[in-house]
Amino acid sequence: MKLDILREMNRERAARRAVILVTDTADGGQRLVRETEAEGDPLAAELADRFRSGRSGTVEAEGRSLFLTVQVPPPRLVVIGAVHISQALAPMAQATDLDVTVIDPRTAFATPERFPDVTLLPLWPDDALAQLPPLDRYTALAALTHDPKIDDPALIAALKAESFYVGALGSRKTHGKRVERLTAAGLAPEQIARIAAPIGLDIGAVSPAEIAVSVLAQVIASLRQDRRRAPA
């Protein structure tokens, strides 16, 4: 691999943009294709599939064996609410290689003492999200404040960005009211139906740490959807 190609791949990853490296396994020849340039490429259909699935693999084309290294942005988790559950969830999610950001405008909650070693933004979601790389398909968002003023704008942004996981804390009754508000805000029923609520896999979680496990398991189940043996 040429050093300038390696640098370009690292730059694109840092900017959260997907790329595919095409390598001729016979002679080592390589080129890098950005998602925005894929349409005009001779391998366009194959590349489009790969960008969707995120899976690397070999393709035979024009008598050549080409290896496609698919580099999609690293998965990240945006947590709305610097609450007790988040204190347990942030380090657990980091341990599974998720890039974690916690957002909460309530400065009594969003303190570095409560959240060491994690990106913490003591801002309203709209302001905080404007400071981060845009929400995308490789982002999970968990809204945990119970406060519609804080949770709703973040949920709307994540649903519009087609984030791979969108979860919201609250009972069925709370969620019923949320559905009404999001409908009034102009979201389609299919979009709203993507929200995991009540949040988390049903493992009977009681403590904040147990709820964090159930949320994190649900995030991973969404991330690895295509590998699961049975629906959870």
Partner: protein, 107 residues
Amino acid sequence: MLSTDTDILATAEAWRDAGRGVALATVIETWGSAPRPVGSHLIIDQEGNFLGSVSGGCVEGAVIAEAADVIEDGKPRVLEFGVADETAWRVGLSCGGRIRVLVEPVA
């Protein structure tokens, strides 16, 4: 700490910038039950320092040895490992799978 692909490719760049010879190994094909998925990376420098993995530790030794030649002559090659190998006891995959690994210089 476990290294992610982000760390691995960023480290490859840092090693090159420090003037070290570097080879990149990538799993390009797997059959049966293979320990690391297609696309997994391992980087190796000319001293044999490495980061990442292409198997659960079964064949890394052989890949690292081959990487020294790749850094030396600058030519990429494809290595294949599996239980069907005659060297199975030395560098086979105990899980019974087979893998192909591309080893290329970062130049």
